[in-house]
Subunit: 331 residues, 2 copies
């Protein structure tokens, strides 16, 4: 509580953050926020942190960083079928850049709030001698007993993923200058996918009562499906050719075939979910309703009836695909 | 999500943090925590951050840092009359010290949890190239409509403070080597008061329906009373000689009279609260019940009937005391 700027800490909070506050935030003037959930609702709470130089480029605009932090947290809420209601922030910024960051972050959060009935409830602003470090606690609600979990998958379930996979990893390589000169449209698309993931909130809500298990893709498709499989006590198989890729990603991977394994590396913040085989038609209908690709990429398996644990990759002809994507075996 | 240690991130979370998790934390294996508050309860949510080198000494033991972080957050819950139910953590640590910190922090939180029915619900562990940076979101509950606020004080209310004031500021000066050689007992006491504040949770609960307004002392007694007065649209007067000081603090200030203003500088995490004049006897009874000093230090005033705004200091004889404590006029 020692940051100095032309406005001072309390002045900067009043100028930039107080306009973002919901009534639960008590004008950001009290010791804590107050929230009474509607009867029959369960709270969903998640917390993600981001460090400059680790999770975002130090020269990235604060506005863009705020939007990514918000979207990453919202993606966790989406994965559990929750609707966002509020958030708290911890902001650690160098003293001489405190006001620049607070102003820019607030602009970014304001943009997110324009799209959602989701308000700032409180937090803390401190100075640091190190890199900008941010954390957000996002709070959502879901009707009691309807939260999506990682652990509900059943053997025989089809595995679906939303949107396209691999864009974020390629966006990062591009930002690091490792992809050479891409066509502008592809470059913009991949950068957008890296910096501004789309939390699949509408999908998460629609999957209540439909999906047996769900989670978002934040550690990479195979690793995350591995988490879901482990939590459900199952194995899983993915058909490599079915993994949905954007036109931009396909274009890049055609030029750089050695990047194929990157499809499993990125934090795409799409939803991964499993449904009973007889609900596949319902998923197709949902895909049309939401105008969002929902692609059947594989199957959950009983580890007792297959000869592996975790996640295995296969080609469409049934042959093993691990070799085809090189040494990528993090799972 | 990139920290490496002998256990790896997921291994370290499983080894150190999962044992701290309540059922709401879903074994720390899901995307978020789930909590259904009992009917009729309002949630109280607060978030505080701490940075090595700013809020604690970089060589401080992780266990002690965890305990301070917990207690600081619990103090915010206490100030609103809430009972703690859970917390989420964000931990940013250098890669080469990740396991050391996670292990030590978990030990510290485990110690706090032994005293309270308060469990870890989730969070995020990341690496940083800078100082250790921690944030906690603490969640509590209070019966609907009974939360203590800063804004409820009324003119004529007596101003009370719990415990003793100034110890934390002196503990910091001592830790910085600015107090010379103190008697061991005094040194230990002041250090304890700095590193391990006592969140006044029992007092906060007992003040429901008794105090008109409350908050904890985290920016210094006068500054915090200033916040409370501003939130209530009032002014306040404090009688300097009534401010409760520990024997150790009195001893130090007798030797270093120039430190007198430090009484207003520290984060003592005591509770500051106001009650109607006819409830003073109830506060005295509460003090006996809790075996905790609750001292009447002043009065809330209608700014229209006194000639000042904010907080003013007076001697017992009614003369102005600002001069007596030097230039300390942060309020």
């Amino acid at each position: 509580m020692a940051e100095q700027s032309s406005l001072g800490e309390f002045g900067a909070i009043a100028a930039y953050f107080a306009p973002l506050a919901g009534p639960e935030g008590l004008g950001l003037l009290d010791d804590a926020a107050l929230y009474t959930p509607p009867p029959g609702q369960t709270l969903v709470l998640t917390k993600d942190a981001m460090v400059a130089g680790v999770h975002f480029f130090p020269d990235e605009s604060p506005m863009l960083v705020a939007r990514k932090l918000a979207r990453v947290n919202l993606s966790d809420l989406a994965a559990m079928g929750a609707e966002p209601v509020g958030y708290l922030l911890a902001v650690a910024v160098p003293k001489d850049k405190a006001e620049y960051w607070m102003k820019g972050l607030a602009e970014g959060f304001a943009q997110v709030q324009m799209l959602l009935d989701w308000r700032l409830w409180g937090g803390d602003t401190v100075t640091t001698t190190g890199p900008v470090t941010l954390s957000m606690t996002a709070i959502g609600t879901v009707p009691e007993g309807q939260a999506l979990r990682r652990s509900g998958a059943r053997a025989g379930d089809r595995v679906f993923v939303s949107g396209t996979i691999g864009d974020a990893a390629l966006g990062l390589l591009q930002r690091q200058g490792k992809l050479g000169q891409l066509p502008q449209e592809a470059a913009d698309f991949l950068r957008q996918r890296l910096c501004l993931p789309n939390p699949r909130l509408g999908l998460g809500v629609a999957l209540r009562g439909l999906a047996h298990a769900a989670q978002d893709v934040s550690d990479g498709l195979a690793a995350d499906l591995g988490h879901l499989a482990a939590a459900s006590g199952l194995a899983a198989r993915i058909t490599l050719e079915r993994i949905p890729q954007s036109a931009a990603a396909r274009e890049v991977m055609d030029s750089f075939p050695e990047l194929k394994p990157q499809i499993f590396a990125g934090d795409d913040y799409e939803l991964l979910f499993t449904v009973a085989p007889d609900r596949v038609a319902a998923v197709a209908a949902l895909s049309r309703d939401l105008n969002l690709a929902l692609t059947d990429i594989g199957e959950m398996c009983d580890p007792a009836t297959v000869d592996w644990t975790g996640v295995r990759l296969f080609h469409e002809d049934g042959s093993a695909a691990e070799e085809a994507i090189g040494g990528y075996r993090h799972f």
